[in-house]
Symmetry: C2
Subunit: 113 residues, 2 copies
């Protein structure tokens, strides 16, 4: 929750609680494997991919991939839906958009002095 009510980094200093919440999402993105997973899921046909599609790309064990997917899931960057045997993951575009909003300076207000 509180996905899209983040105030931008510039303009006024963010609160410590705010910072903790946001840093968890950036931390989830701060790993090359997770970044590739996210990109693989987003780029996959239909906007979704099952774990088997992802695991074979990497030279990593199944549990490791599963762990990274969990981190992305807990950051609400992806969601997983079970359909029969397979679990299909897809990205949460609003989440990415929220982060982008956070970073974009709204440049006009920066030089206020």
């Amino acid at each position: 929750m509180a996905s899209s009510c983040w105030s931008p980094l510039v303009g006024q200093p963010i609160s410590p609680e705010h910072a903790s919440e946001i840093s968890r999402v950036f931390k989830a993105l701060g790993d090359p494997v997770r970044l590739r997973l996210l990109s693989l899921i987003a780029s996959h046909a239909g906007g979704e991919a099952c774990v088997c599609d992802l695991t074979e790309v990497f030279d990593l064990s199944g549990p490791t991939i599963s762990h990274h997917l969990k981190v992305l899931r807990e950051a609400e960057l992806i969601t997983g839906e079970r359909r029969g045997t397979w679990i299909h993951y897809r990205v949460v575009p609003q989440r990415l958009a929220s982060l982008a909003d956070l970073l974009i300076p709204t440049t006009a207000e920066t030089v206020a002095s």
Copy 2:
């Protein structure tokens, strides 16, 4: 270097090298203290702040703040310039914009099936 030539996460899977490079920047943002530092610098009058302005905000030692500033500096998210006694830090807006570009889905292409 290679600041703004990042291809977006969606569209096609990013390369491992790409992912490593980008993850370093997100990792720098994946800490609440660094996020607050960035926001404090960006929000400070004139768009810049010296370390003394920053240190007094936190309940952390000087060396710790200096360490976090170094991480942000190496991620090219901020730059520091010495003017007399004080060192003034300011954010690199192009860097933030690059990250935002990376995250924004260019939504039309996502649902291709």
